[in-house]
Subunit: 350 residues, 4 copies
């Protein structure tokens, strides 16, 4: 049986989970290597029984890992500032790439990755917009586009609200992520483009506030923000991002059309359990996007693997991320300047 | 304008609420008198500013109250053991009666009230099955019988589960109520007859347990019980009654038919508020049937008032309660004996 | 017993409902008169059996009605363009006023009503922000301010989304209501000021679209709009208003604080009924704000009545409406111009 | 890496799914063979591209498959009437067995399988009560036993209600499954024993009805049934099984304790999507137990695999199924005779 030999770059929280997904959910892929530049993570991986059992080589250097014999593909799960360079290094070596979103917080750099990837049609290069692989979001898409369940969609509301992180982990990495609208709302922006049929932005505005992480001030960021995008053609999207939710990872989307509305995860729940006691009736909420999107990551990894093995197009064109990033940056700029950001009818900022 | 002069017998929790309903929700009725045999309640009523404002006379004796000048009707809201005698006393004086369910825990006595009432077609005598006046239960009925929403209904599950009462109030009055299936399940039995089209019972069984009120043992009662009724013709109802819920008054009903199911209040909520915090997402639950059925009592009182003023049939025939009671007693007997109780095709116990 | 003699001005949908509320839910008030300038409505009222039964005089002229003997108070439920003049006419005659929101779509006119009312401390003049009297919104307030359930509130999301009206009724009256943010979002703005502790606006922006009522274009209005308000001090509110919902009247509010979130009516339901059938599990949604807020109107009317009879302050100061209107007008201006609207630290537009 | 070589017996709906689970979710197992006695299924499997890709041998005979070289384990997923004989045949050959529930519809036969398995402690033999591996049921267990979330549990309500099958598939196999309480309620009975701490049955009764599959009459079965079990020590369980639900696979469980209630899947939903349109707000319901329990099957298969590879006890003792079956048979007998079935304090029928 043909299997894809894949490596995972980065052994942070998500890197470890991607290794897990590949082992447990992607029978046509084999994780042959991992790497990290963090000594503790390398040490941890070298002592990991499961990694030994499944024969996973551990590297402390990305380029060394790329040279691993027989390597076909790499899942880039490092911090955003090296996504572009690592993706390009892999392309150069003829290695397929599944790169965590976003390709870069810098639009030009992101565009250059897209351009170079397009020069290598023999390689599969994809950015991981995991929600595109989620069963509920896909069901919403089917209902909207095949089922015409809501008539013509014209408005999207979408939230990405994280559980408050009191460990300091989030703040430690916040400087590299490009700001709340680039790091957090990027999925929501992507969903709005999906469900509204790739509309062109006309203007956007945003406002934010610091409620729990005053350190973000020095990074020109906030921990709660609301942003609105008006598109040409009478479509609208608006977003709420938060780093400070008490109840869990609350990520919901509503798509309103001329004849109805589709709601995805408006009342989040960890599982099927409800407790009734002195406090009333309650359910728990997933603590992280991992619990919400674990299945989506498995679908994504399987579809990417299939695209490589069967030489099919990747399920999500790499170009997609450019407009998402453009809007994310515009919202972040609006947030910081307090000004409206306007676009022309081609979606270029004016 | 013609108004109904009505009195309320009993100033326990429900009696006071009925006075409130009559004042605030029934413009065609005027509460002219109340009575209680409990000195504290009489005292309380005499000092009540609202009662003074609305000109409500306070009696310490039911018969004296019946003699109140101009009295047209009485709402009997005393303990179950005097329902029958007070209803009969009113009938004798030519006074219309709205009597709390059940007419009596003794079937013969209940039947005799029905018989005597039937001899007085000029008087409106009605037993208060309040759920019959609830908007949700009526909507369920409309959907089932007019809308054919679930095809042919063949099964009812219905619960009456009370918040645990740690004040001792419940246990104090438990001796007079006829047992858990007579006091508590009587509404559920009534609903099952309603939605199943007045089927005839064939057999029933029940089991119970004492979880919180061991004193009930001496009263031959339990604080949690499940009962099942098989009807002739392939219909089934089953009930759960409880006195010990931690989360509130949980009263739900499911009606299953050949083409669907209707659920009433399966996830109870106090109001439209949900709190999301460290414990997850939660809503409160009404503490008592009053909060759940306050509107139903207002509808009931208005419809009874209208029946009297306009000489229309009462919305719920008095006879209705007899079969309900028959089944309630059978379930209570099954609970106490551990035996099946069987009925013939006429619904007579065998 | 002392009763308030009250009249209702306007016999449109809401006027009729207010008469109903007064008759059925406000025992200390007596509706003595109604008026309308619409001949059909006057005719309808004159022939109405219930109005006859309760002795309600019918006028075709507001000023004539104000001269009704013994009249104490008036509930102004006419179209917005005459709210101010009718309120002032009543004040001039020494009659208490409960006026539907808003006092005027013109800020100066609204302010002048407030000023004149303040010169008549002997009169109770109140604007009807009915949601302030809703049990769920009050519970949210109690949980937030007494219960500290969500820490410090800093963000409000609030929607007022109406069922699509295909009768033409809505469009016919749209010209008089001041625009979607003045007519529709005004309650949401009021709620945001309530829950955020009367913050001062800093900037706002809005975008809208025409989906179903192209006629609104000529009225400089839209049928769906999103607006955001940034307040001084790091607080934010955002609103979605719609005239075109397929599923019913969907009016929800979320208040986010440092330690939690309170959601009001995020999943609207008509009653306690859920239908399970081939389509899945579903509940209906109230068609209009009347079904959602009927109880709130009764509370409002009772509290206003009590304020008059007992000479207590009205539950909601008349001044409140001014800032609400200021923000509503600013959002409407932002919507029409596409520009940001800014305020100084005193809440004056710059 | 050590892998378990496993075969799947039976290629009906569930057999195919088990192959899928093993391929996609169990990295430490390798499906080496499948078998079926149904020629069409054998043909289908031989032509299946995925089976070829993963090197799965296809047999038309169970014994031949058992002789497959290097085979370590078998997942018995055939019809209930051959569960016992196939399990014993595997044991005889020294092959580990994961057998679908129940081991047999005949209690003696089931007991003999248990006895023989106990004579082979070197072999792992487990019956597949898949709900024991479901995240929500496990969370309920943790909350009850570790978290003491509901005090002392004393009552279980549990439903297994299948979507109506109009293809004839269900009725075709109904004759082999032992009746509705043995086939359908067996999981619910198992859950009640789990959550109530393995109580001993005292008495049970059941009633059923034929609503959609009159052919079941000849098989002495019904398509809807309710059953109650009273346990020694004041505990109670009751069950509703159905073959005729219009809305989907509706499988819920409520566990009531002295201080609270835990509800599992009381409002079933296919995914996170809610549609709001003219019909109100609705979600879909999973059509089959597969969609509800797909993850549980993966957990089960992984835990069984780990038990074999690491020689650990199977997660669920084989004996467990005997009492479950005893109660299932008693309920089925009660259903057919209309009589109470009683047990002594050792759980032996009297």
């Amino acid at each position: 049986m043909e299997q894809l030999s894949i490596a995972v770059a980065g052994l942070g929280r998500m890197g470890k989970r991607h290794v897990h997904t590949l082992i447990y959910r992607v029978p046509r892929a084999r994780v042959v290597a991992v790497c990290s530049t963090v000594p503790e993570e390398v040490e941890w991986a070298k002592n990991n029984e499961e990694y030994k059992e499944f024969g996973i080589a551990v590297y402390s250097n990305y380029d060394d890992m790329l040279a691993h014999q027989g390597l076909n593909a790499v899942w880039v799960s490092t911090s955003t500032d090296v996504h572009a360079s690592q993706t390009l290094a892999a392309i150069e070596k003829g290695i397929h790439v599944l790169c965590e979103k976003p390709l870069s917080t810098d639009l030009k750099e992101a565009q250059s990755v897209v351009d170079i990837a397009n020069q290598h049609p023999e390689l599969k290069v994809m950015a991981g917009f995991s929600r595109r692989f989620d069963a509920s979001y896909r069901d919403a898409s089917d209902k909207i586009f095949q089922g015409k369940a809501i008539g013509s969609p014209f408005m999207v509301r979408s939230n990405t609200c994280d559980l408050r992180d009191d460990t300091g982990f989030f703040v430690r990495y916040a400087g590299r992520n490009g700001g709340i609208f680039v790091d957090c709302a990027i999925h929501d922006i992507d969903l709005s483009l999906w469900y509204l049929g790739n509309p062109v932005p006309k203007a956007c505005w945003a406002a934010g506030t610091l409620q729990h992480h005053p350190e973000l001030k020095d990074l020109s960021d906030v921990d709660n923000a609301v942003g609105m995008v008006e598109f040409w053609g009478g479509k609208i999207a608006y977003f709420y991002c938060s780093r400070t939710q008490a109840h869990g990872h609350d990520v919901c989307t509503e798509i309103t059309g001329s004849d109805g509305k589709i709601m995805v995860n408006v009342m989040p729940r960890s599982n099927h359990v409800v407790v009734a006691d002195k406090l009333g009736m309650r359910n728990q909420v997933p603590p992280e996007y991992w619990q919400r999107f674990e299945d989506a990551f498995a679908v994504e990894a399987n579809e990417f693997t299939e695209a490589v093995l069967k030489d099919k197009p990747v399920p999500l064109p790499l170009e997609n991320g450019i407009m998402v990033m453009k809007i994310g940056r515009a919202l972040q700029d609006a947030l910081l300047t307090g000004q409206l950001v306007r676009f022309d009818e081609n979606g270029e900022r004016v």
